[in-house]
């Protein structure tokens, strides 16, 4: 994840907004914390909590806009495990641990800005941290980042969304819910066994 380079620097008013965040009452500024399952290696508790909240909404289940011919098949699939059940934030923490210093700094800045109440207010959202918004407000917040006219905010959304998608959908726990039977281990075993004896 090398791409948040200069994220704050490029974000118009980002630094000024962070500096002004002191003006907001303390209760509204603080990230709503979640308890990690394992000791954190990359995230701070705040960053972990922001990412966990993002992952929850990115992976929120819905059957919107499905071709009617296929809706029944999709609905018959097992219920997808939640982001928390798969521990998306914990697995992302482990994945990110070896990240280079510059990229790590940018990702951390992105997460703090994403949860900043004043930045939300200044960009048309409620004056609350992302982690303290209702699910509907959170979705609107994500949508504003995803479709922002500012390219750097779209970049920020993509960084969080792709990391979430990569971690969650690469877990075998999610396979059944997307109709993926998994790798053909039997076939490979039957072929490799005689070949390796040869």
């Amino acid at each position: 994840m090398e791409t948040r380079r200069g994220f704050l620097k490029k974000t118009i008013g980002g630094a000024a907004l962070l500096a002004a965040a002191g003006a907001v009452p303390l209760a509204f500024r603080k990230t709503r914390l979640r308890e990690p399952r394992a000791p954190l290696r990359f995230f701070t508790p705040e960053e972990y909590s922001v990412f966990a909240a993002v992952a929850e909404r990115v992976l929120a289940r819905g059957l919107a806009d499905m071709p009617p011919e296929l809706a029944t098949a999709a609905q018959r699939r097992p219920t997808p495990p939640s982001a928390a059940e798969v521990d998306v934030a914990g697995k992302a923490d482990a994945f990110l641990a070896p990240l280079d210093a510059a990229s790590a700094k940018e990702l951390k800045q992105l997460l703090l800005l994403f949860d900043n109440a004043l930045f939300s207010l200044a960009t048309g959202g409620p004056p609350r941290p992302f982690t303290r918004m209702s699910p509907e407000q959170q979705d609107a917040h994500l949508e504003r980042w995803a479709t922002s006219r500012l390219a750097v905010r779209r970049t920020g959304f993509q960084a969080l969304k792709r990391l979430t998608g990569a971690v969650y959908y690469s877990q075998p726990a999610s396979y059944a819910s997307v109709g993926y039977p998994g790798p053909p281990y039997e076939l490979v075993r039957t072929v490799n066994a005689p070949r390796s004896r040869r």
Partner: protein, 512 residues
Amino acid sequence: MSGIVRGDQIREDVVLTPDLCVVGSGPGGAIVASRLADAGAEVVVLEEGGHYTKADFDMQEATAYPHLYQDRGNRATADLSIAVLQGRAVGGGTVVNWTTSFRTPDDVIDSWREKDGATVTPEALRLHFEEVEKRLGIQKVDLDDVNANNRALYDGCKKMGWSVDTTRRNVRECLRTGYCGMGCPVDAKQSAALTYLPHAVSRGATIYANCRARRIEWDGTRAQAVVGEVLHPGTQQQTGRTIRVEPRELVVSCGALNSPALLLRSGLAQGPVGKKTWLHPTIAMVAMYRDAIEGFYGAPQSVASHHFARRAPHAGFFMEASPVHPMLAGIAFPGFGAQLTSQMALLPNVAVSIALMIDGFGEGEEGGTVSLRPDGAPSLDYPLGERHQECFRAAMKALAQAHLANGALRVSSLHLPAVVVRSEKDLGALDAAPLGPNQCGVFTAHQMGGCRMGSDPAKSVVRPDLRHHYIDNLWVVDGSVFPTGLGVNPMESIYAVGSWAAQHVRAALAKA
């Protein structure tokens, strides 16, 4: 000692003085190492990635991408607008390549001769292509062996009256599991790690895996040494050990992003180093079918259409299929919440086709630029302009038309939000949808240019024989020397051009 040495086996700093050092073990480096080892040269290969065998390839994306790809699968342009799929292992990109094998089109080589003063000719490459095809088992796919994901594109093109054909693949006794991109679990894919590299080792070459070349030491017109750091195979972090190779001839084969980065880190910035990087920028369309496609199984790429490759004056594109595994889909499918998860829930019914823009032939086209991050790693910028957008729109419409003609329920784009095409009358929406950075998914699996070959030192980095313009015993042999994109998947071209260039390296060694 000859063989393959892993980073964790290197317990002391290493200093070596072979005839030849090759940095990078992808198709270019592997074939040069093989040819020169055959000629009796003492050859050392440095490879940043790890050495993996079929037992390591567990067909899980969570294992494959962090181990077998650059930046642990997260390489992208600096603004994240283009995701970069690029291999990183002993064998380089050939370990994860989707096996599509094409010769370089003659007219592309001719254009290099006309515009850049290149000396390579289609005739000169013919014998090299033939040898590579024999060695790698490159053969045309039977239409009966094409999976439903590729067949949908094939049939759609046929119904539109467009030219389309099965491709040639570098496999032997292929099971068509569908996992080429995660390392072949049955050694059917004839990667460099199974062919040219073991051959080089059998002739006395040594491959140092987990060794990252940091810089080239040079003085005047001679490269004196290449200095690298040893990485731990598991953590990929530095172990603190170093490796120093002082060869008579030095070949840089790190690929189109890492080769210019190595030259730049070494202060070898003469000429357009890292400039005019070509990516075959790639868009995808997601077609939904009533019947199961199961694009996660079967040979991932086995058909291609070059029907729109020559759209002068507009940029051409070619169309192929992409494997449909959950992680790649979860990254690529647009949006979040219901928009993302509802499309994911229909994964078995999805066919994914891609269109690759043929870049590098436009008047004044600059392509991408490789520069250095503060830590010395390559940073890539590739601005997408009006030329790209026109091509992407035409390509999206073509893919949508092909799948509609083939009976898809609907075809959707990777715009955010997706443009959903249910019939011909929806195609116009693809013209209106924005294509700015991160408004639509764009990818690259073909990285070329950045150390282009040519006769003019102001306009190229290496001479027509692939020797560096200023450093007499330094060569660049990989996709970075291509002055343009190829218009076809580049792996086989890199092998053949590498085999051709190996003759020049051999002659230089004989003289030195």
